[in-house]
Amino acid sequence: MNRPSPRRRVGSFLALATAITLVASGCSAASTSTTIDATAPAKLTGTVSFWHFFSDREAKVVQSVVDDFTKVNPGVKVDVHSGQDDEKLKKAIAAGNSIDLGLSYSTDIVGNFCSSGAFRDLGPYITRDKIDLTQFNKTVRSYTEYKGTRCSMPVLADDYGLYYNKKLLAAAGFSAPPKTLSELKKMALGLTTYNADGSIKTLGFNPMMGFYENAASHFGPLAGARWLSKNGNSAIGGDAAWTELMTWQKSFIDAIGYDKVNAFTSGLGQEFSADNAFQTGQVAMNMDGEYRTAFIDDQTPNLEYGTAPMPTADDHTNLYGGGYITGNIAGISKGAKNPEAAWALLKYLTTDTGAIVKLSNGLKNVPTTADALASPDLAVTPQFKTFLDIVANEHSGTTPPSPVGAGYQQSFEDFWHKYQSGSGSGLAAGLAKVDKDIDASIALTTGP
């Protein structure tokens, strides 16, 4: 019996391995073309596999709306998979798992999911069913599409404003929240109290980047700051708005002392717990999303607080009333087995006023359609009303979809963290390096 030589065996083995690799990689090829029936089916049937990230109480709210959908469409069974984060979603889509509809908590995935085809182009469905996209405002429309391809629809929004403790403000002699960043700093310093050893007892406003919702993305709209230029490269270093915001934030920290603010911040409770520093009164004013109203109702119902739009940069007072908007998005997976039923469910979740209002009342997120925002059935407290106004404001902004997800924001924040502690390079040189890093990362994904 002839035994193959070791070299031949290695060669055969490598050939086999290469074949396996190429076959497997070929299996993952995306198909982005979407061909659909000329008319929507009169009667929907089959099963829709619906993946979303909500859990516990919030998952029950989503389930109740799904149940409403199946009552109207008795031929459809919705197989709901709750508690699935974005990474699991993408891995499952890539692996060809049976997912029809996916719901994500992050608009940062849109650039990649649209360009890679992980989510199908919804354009043909929208055209066929004559969906009026102007019912969503411009910002919401912008974060659900990428380079002209609409692969997702908005499922409620989060927006960010200023929470203030009425008792603490009144005790310090303030009767209204600040409207400019200079006012915010001045009021915050007046509201800050110290222990006998010089450490901070209560803070008027915590300026530390990275504290709870203090993210660059949330500060950007306060000065109309831009992230990416039209050609997709970083616009951060060349935008004076970022320099203005960073200079203000650094001067605020320096007025108290970085070490003191850092020590104080380090001892604060978890953001998503009853120990949240605003809820405990350790911080008098705080930037947060509309969902905080639900946490306060649940955990500290006796807290006397108000909400307002975030103050704007001093030379951008015309932007007052706006803020950062983001939200949940949903799309039909490239491997959807029942795309028509998935589209029907997606359309129901994102355009049916009754469904949106029910979701909003249950999840305490902001509706995204004009009709739902004006619905008398929407449960609106004075504090929550602020966030409905922010989402409708023309000056509200968001972060642009990118093929590298939130990578460009992370690069910028890495530098901002160093800058605020005084350990980074100078501002201009640092921002130039940020631009260079972001451009190199994007080029790695999109370059020739």
Binding site: S28, S55, A94, S116, Y212, G407, D437, A440, T445
Partner: protein
């Protein structure tokens, strides 16, 4: 007879390894077909990646500090336990018990214990007039804080050393005593050669684990940042504070699954594999010189 084992090896080791090498030369986002881009990922890794060297440095810290400290502590505790005359079962259980705590729970507990404002550690230090550090919230202290955690859960290594020390033949000690050996000479010439295989095993597994260090650092960053959430991933807090806990595998994860650069992440994985292989080969060659067979 060997077919199932070979099949398993091909599917779960050889194929992923070859696939990773292939993807490392491509632009790949997991969904679109991979595009061949030659050495582009490797050039970016060595010349343009803004965080890879810091991540590699942090990982190296865990390899050269955490691994030896854990092993020496475990060896020291095992040595003491061998000599314990009373309640040895109690002491063995006490030192081993922390190793049974799930890693995530252990890290969460540690971060709360060492919370600079409300944690009992700093409260005790304050009571005796010492201003405690910010522990997991200070870039200079975050890694030493994880080192303390690593030492606390060293029971898994300690139990192996304990078994090894108890397994050293008493006759060898008796013979050494007859030859007039002192305590340290018995330790150096009898105990150490006898436990070298276990020591080598501990070093190798420890180095591999340190090169892949992820869970403890990720959870510590998430909890210490005050933004721990359930269900929304932890990508935004990885590395906190100031990337001092950003490990190489965390960075690989960020680039692969948050930035959708699976091709580049594969290049990072290949480099890690090569580095780990070289380190372990060097380690094995150097250690072989100390084994009893080589000595004889």
């Amino acid at each position: 007879m060997l077919a199932p084992a070979i099949l398993g090896l091909l599917i779960f080791f050889v194929y992923p390894l070859i696939a990773s090498v292939y993807y490392s030369f491509t632009r790949f986002d997991l969904v679109s077909p991979p595009q061949w881009i030659g050495l582009r990922n490797y050039i970016y890794l060595f010349t343009q990646d803004p965080n890879v060297w810091q991540a590699a440095g942090n990982t190296l810290w865990f390899v050269v500090v955490l691994v030896p400290v854990r092993i020496l502590t475990a060896l020291g505790v095992a040595w003491l336990l061998v000599r314990a005359k009373r309640a040895s079962g109690f002491w063995r259980t006490l030192f081993y018990l922390p190793a049974l705590v799930p890693p995530v729970a252990a890290v969460v507990a540690f971060v709360f214990l060492f919370n600079p404002g409300t944690g009992p550690v700093n409260l005790i230090l304050r009571a005796i007039g010492i201003q405690g550090p910010l522990w997991f919230n200070d870039p200079a202290w975050s890694k030493p804080s994880l080192l303390l955690l690593g030492v606390w859960v060293m029971g898994d290594v300690m139990i192996i050393f304990l078994a090894s020390l108890l397994d050293v033949p008493q006759e060898l000690y008796e013979a050494a005593s007859l030859d007039g050996a002192k305590s340290w000479q018995k330790g150096w010439f009898v105990t150490l050669p006898a436990i070298v295989p276990v020591l080598v095993f501990s070093v190798i597994t420890g180095v591999i684990a340190a090169l892949q260090y992820f869970t403890e650092a990720a959870v510590a960053s998430s909890v210490a940042s005050g933004r721990a959430t359930v269900g929304e991933g932890g990508g935004a807090t990885l590395g906190y504070p100031d990337n001092s806990l950003l490990t190489y595998t965390e960075w690989l994860y960020v680039r692969g699954f948050s930035n959708y650069q699976l091709g580049y992440a594969s290049a990072l994985a290949v480099v890690l594999f090569v580095v780990a292989s070289v380190v372990l080969l060097v380690l094995l060659r150097r250690v072989r010189a100390f084994t009893p067979e080589e000595a004889s």
